[in-house]
């Protein structure tokens, strides 16, 4: 479960987010929509504790970030699967190694890592591209690797920040379908931040709209 209670974060320059209140239940699919600069990324960053609220509270999967010690942040993030617009793949590692990384961080056995990584590669249809480096993959393929990396550890919640922002229309729908399908299989809560209303209209999910740092009714 994710709950933001009267959450405010102001930047010294530019808008922040103000007095945000919402609750997202387990297994929900939520679209966080709004134009560029509306505060979507800030809200996601508050959820994965890259930013801490100045006022109010953010509770994610049982962790209240405003009361957390910095040492606990990795434990919160291990319950999350993060997907980024720019994929954030490590360029010196192939698709297999990129996907296996969260499992190494969790300290899993080599055999488990191998099984789960190949399963994730299979899920995103990239089993034959396992040993390709990011530079050898198309944008859509790179994002599929990013999704596999988020899904591989069976996270409680998936946070996706503009996951289709760097993809063409065909790849965007495909990526979104894959992300929502795998999350649903896994029972994960999914929050997708996007400025693209056309994508949202094609999927069934809850809509949270934000503009200039404030939620719209």
């Amino acid at each position: 479960m994710i709950e933001l209670r009267k959450t405010t974060l102001k930047y010294q320059r530019g808008p922040g987010v103000y007095d945000i209140n919402f609750t997202i239940g387990a297994g929900e699919l939520v679209f966080l929509v709004g134009p560029s600069g509306a505060g979507k990324t800030t809200l996601l960053k508050l959820m994965y504790a890259d930013l801490l609220p100045q006022e109010g509270e953010v509770e994610v999967n049982g962790f209240i970030t405003s009361h957390m010690r910095s040492k606990s942040i990795p434990h919160l993030r291990r319950t999350l699967g993060l997907v980024f617009q720019d994929f954030r793949l490590l360029p010196d590692r192939n698709a297999y190694d990129n996907i296996a990384l969260p499992l190494h961080i969790l300290g899993l056995q080599r055999k488990d890592i191998r099984e789960r990584t190949y399963a994730a590669l299979d899920d995103v249809g990239l089993i034959d591209r396992a040993h390709h480096y990011p530079r050898e993959l198309s944008g859509g393929e790179q994002q599929r690797v990013g999704i596999a990396r988020a899904i591989v550890k069976n996270p409680i919640t998936i946070l996706a920040d503009e996951p289709t922002g760097n993809l063409d229309a065909g790849n965007s729908m495909e990526t979104l379908d894959l992300l929502t399908y795998l999350a649903n299989e896994n029972g994960s809560t999914v929050i997708i931040a996007t400025h693209d209303y056309s994508i949202v209209s094609k999927k069934r999910g809850r809509l949270i709209e934000i503009n200039e740092g404030r939620l719209l009714d």
Binding site: P74, L76, R78, R88
Partner: protein, 290 residues
């Protein structure tokens, strides 16, 4: 846990390989540093052995008044045992002195002069803890105060010269070693900083994936330690090579061979490891904490 450690070690190796050019600079500096320290250690190790071989340099010859008979001289000789810093003594009778004279100069003094004018004497060996020029001087002064002693002879100048050169070599090696040590720490630390800077996006991503600070730091520390270990192995090789060359040169001039001090490899290996660890901790600490 073992799987995680193996992964982090492989990350350290990967990181070292990626930054192999700057790492080479650090490794060579570590090699130079440890070669200087190893050289000083080598001198220390051989100094003790050399001094044992040059024991005659720590010998004091005592001469009693010629008018004293062997019996009277022996009574005075027994007073030597009260002098502090002496390990052993040997009485030299007038007759023994004559036979030594004959052996060294080929002449029988009694036949030549018709009488033995040589005084009785003693050979005094200085105890180990007192084998410095200053202490030997003091022992000689103490012996000279014994009634009946006319002369005290020892090779004080040689002892002093020997001490001086050994001190210069050891202190010089240590001072150069300390300067090089600071340089090596600085270089290792900078190499690690460069490595971290080049991987800042990777570090950010690792943090976002739930990596703890130690998970992120450990590969860099391993990278530094590996630099230290490789540097120390090269230093051990360099010192052993130098030892061979020096022994090759020495055997043409003197019957003396330098020995390899015990634990040389262990000493340098430990120093290399610490050097790498301190250097990388500095780099990692400042960068990743911030």
């Amino acid at each position: 846990m073992i799987g995680k450690l193996a992964f982090l070690i492989s990350e350290g190796l990967r990181s070292l390989w990626r930054a192999r050019l700057p790492a080479l600079g650090s490794i060579l500096t570590i090699t130079l540093t440890l070669t200087l320290f190893g050289g000083a250690y080598l001198i220390f190790g051989n100094f003790d052995r050399a001094t044992r071989r040059l024991q005659s340099q720590y010998r004091i010859d005592v001469f009693f008044k010629p008018i004293l008979t062997n019996g009277e001289a022996f009574q005075k000789y027994q007073l030597l045992t009260a002098v502090e810093g002496i390990s052993s003594t040997e009485f030299i009778s007038k007759e023994r002195a004559a036979s030594i004279f004959k052996r060294e100069f080929g002449e029988d003094v009694v036949t030549v002069l018709g009488t033995n004018p040589l005084p009785a004497g003693a050979i005094v060996l200085v105890a180990r803890g007192h084998r410095t020029a200053r202490r030997i001087n003091r022992i000689a002064d103490d012996i000279a105060t014994i009634d009946g002693v006319t002369d005290v002879a020892y090779r004080g100048e040689l002892v002093r010269i020997l001490e001086r050169y050994i001190r210069i070599a050891v202190y010089g090696g240590l001072i150069l070693g300390i300067v090089a040590l600071l340089g090596a720490i600085f270089l290792v630390s900078n190499t690690i900083k460069l490595s971290i800077y080049a991987k800042r996006d990777t570090i950010d991503t690792l943090h976002l994936l739930g990596a703890t600070r130690s998970f992120v730091r450990l590969p860099f520390l391993i990278e530094g330690v590996l630099q230290g270990i490789i540097g120390s192995l090269l230093a051990v090789g360099a010192i052993l090579g130098m030892l061979d060359v020096m022994n090759y040169i020495l055997e043409h001039f003197v019957l003396y061979r330098l020995i390899r001090p015990a634990f040389l490899a262990l000493f340098l290996g430990t120093m290399g490891l610490l050097l790498g660890l301190i250097g990388s901790s500095r780099g990692v600490g400042r960068f990743i904490n911030s």
